[in-house]
């Protein structure tokens, strides 16, 4: 799978075999992320938030972009992971890596159970049901004050150093590397997944579900599987938030978080993994900049930016890049 150079020459078969080879440009996000650590040392807390949100967006991309499961309730899994990691750190141990496993499990179990029920439907009904699942989980967390702290949230979480070596410091150095490394492995996993036969089958389901039924593909099983995987990853993202901010509140289960992550993904471009990177970075940096320049009316500027992007760049930021590249090639010929 890892071929560093992707030649344009060669037979059609060769090109087909090589289409999944890792291109050098795919390393660019990692180079930038490492560079950002050295160039913007005072922005690391925001940096870790961006990294874990990218992870969350990748998880959504698997469900929404690749399998076509339109959801407004993805924060349910994010929040489940966050609460699981928070409770685990409070009551069991503050060891971070096992905490992430617990967070992923919590997201995954919720994803599997709710997926079994709601993925029987599609379209508007499905959107409503994803939202309903989110609201149920949110209200449960709100009501279960003895466990979750209700509207006050879970506080007093203290994390142990990673591998007993790297303490979570005030400046966010450890948190940044921690998020970056977790994101790297999730990215590798997501690439393998979408470029596997299973991933191709998902695209088939998205593009023509009737035909997939006709050729005998187990459509619903595929959907539940990818939904569960996606929920596991969302849970891990939530776990990262709980561990790095050492606080879990109801906002992790908020409808706003669900909506914003869809916006960020659409902003970058769906169904291409890298849309998650581009969209999250654009949205969160813009939001942070606007909020600091104009704390009272920043949401207006963010809204305006989104309207303009929806009007003029429908395929998201990467869609625009694609169009530009196509145009350049045309001109060269």
């Amino acid at each position: 799978m890892f071929r560093w150079f992707n030649s344009d020459k060669g037979s059609a078969v060769e090109r087909f075999v090589q289409r999944d080879a890792l291109k050098p440009i795919e390393l660019l996000p990692w180079i930038l992320a490492i560079a950002a650590y050295y160039v913007f040392p005072s922005y690391l807390p925001l940096g870790s938030q961006i990294l874990l949100t990218i992870l969350f967006a990748i998880s959504l991309d698997l469900a929404l972009g690749y399998a076509g499961i339109i959801t407004l309730g993805h924060a349910a899994f994010f929040g489940a992971g966050a609460y699981a990691a928070g409770l685990y750190a409070l009551h069991v141990t503050g060891e971070p890596l096992s905490g992430l496993v617990v967070a992923g499990l919590a997201g995954g179990i919720l994803g599997f159970l709710s997926g079994l029920v709601i993925l029987r439907t599609s379209g508007l009904t499905l959107i409503m049901l994803t939202l309903a699942v989110l609201l149920l989980v949110q209200e449960f967390a709100n009501r279960a004050r003895p466990i979750t702290g209700g509207a006050d949230g879970l506080s007093g979480i203290s994390m142990k150093p990673i591998f007993g070596q790297f303490r979570f410091d005030l400046f966010g150095h450890t948190a940044y590397w921690y998020c970056l490394i977790v994101l790297f492995f999730v990215w590798l996993f997501a690439l393998l997944l979408v470029r596997s036969p299973f991933g191709r089958a998902l695209t088939g389901v998205r593009e023509n579900v009737t035909r997939m039924h006709a050729i005998g593909a187990p459509v619903r099983r595929r959907l539940v599987t990818v939904y569960t995987i996606s929920a596991v990853l969302a849970g891990i993202a939530g776990g990262l938030l709980a561990q790095t901010s050492q606080f879990v509140g109801l906002a992790t289960l908020g409808f706003e978080r669900s909506g914003e992550i869809v916006i960020m993904l659409v902003l970058g471009g769906i169904g291409r993994i890298y849309g998650a990177f581009v969209g999250v970075v654009i949205f969160m940096i813009a939001q942070d900049t606007f909020a600091k320049a104009d704390p009272a009316f920043w949401s207006f500027w963010v809204g305006l930016m989104l309207v303009l992007i929806v009007l003029f760049a429908r395929g998201g930021a990467l869609g625009v890049v694609d169009q530009a590249l196509r145009w350049v090639r045309k001109v060269r010929r």
Partner: protein, 399 residues
Amino acid sequence: MKFARFAALTLAAVLLPLAGASAQTVKIGFITSYTGQNASVGAMMDQAVKLWMKEHTKHLPAGVKVEIINRDDTGPNPEVAKRLATELVTRDKVDFLAGVIWTPNAAAIAPIAAEAKVPFVIMNAGTSGIIPSGGAPYVTRVSFTLWQSSLPLGQWAAKNNLKKVYSLVSDFGPGIDAETAFKKGFTDGGGTVVESVRMPLATQDFAPFFQKVKDAKPDAAFVFIPAGVQATGVMKAYQDLGLAQAGIKLIGPGDITTDEELINMGDASVGATTMFHYSAAAKRPANEAFIKSWKAEYGSNSTPAFPAVATWDGMAAIFDAIKAQNGKMDNAKSAAFLKTWKTDNSPRGPISVDPETGDIVQNEYLRRVERVNGVLSNVELETFATAVKDPWKILNPKK
């Protein structure tokens, strides 16, 4: 000799502006909710800061400047508040953290203040436990605690022929404090709390809750919601369901008749009895001067309520700390100074910070909403208790 004098004067002429140029800039990181739930309270706190800066910048020691860095925590979102506070101390290197409406946000910021050793002045959030009984390093609160108002209110209610009270509070830290404190004061005095209901924090429509109150036929409803537009929602439900006509009084901490919302509440609010540390209608000279300059700045329909006053006093405390050190800020000294700060000149009367805990000590006034010259006001009937320390810390010395 002459030359020496000339040289000295020249040197002074050159150095003086230099001293001015190398002026101390003191940075205050001000975090509040400009958007989200209770954005109106955030805007009011922001107005208080701006008015304070306008009137008092000139009283700073020569060459000292104060810079306010505003940040929006977007409502009760502790992880956002925590990140903003971290950035303010690590990137902007602020000398003070200040503001904060919401309890969970303040609770998330307090450990940052301790770890970074930056003094943190809480200007609203009122849950007692944010500052534990032994105090929290680098944290000072200049606002209030719910225990300060609700415990005396319970004692007052028991003495004033209220036998059965129905308690209705928002389901989060301050609400639970209010409920517990009122119950303690009321039942110790012989009253009975017939039912304690906690409403979701984001409740908009209070009618279903007040219908249940009406059915229970208590003597009074004790209500707490975070001040702001929700207070008007409470009053609307109280009026629409005719609780006043049914003989059910409305009592609570001053949040339910918060001064800036009275104008929207109408006559339903007349007679509501509250215990609180501040009323915009108070007759103290310091308050009248404060109200006058507020209305001159923001218009006659704008009324500052308790969050504005706490912000105002918090700014006063910070300015005093700056003056005490002549602008050469040392965080440990600032924090120590704030913990012994006091003034007789607050719009709410004499106030001080309890040096043992860093929490506010102030008077509690019994008030009733009345029309004064056609304007609904929280009229102070009596100073119910003076120099009240946070009762929760006295009752829970080990927490």
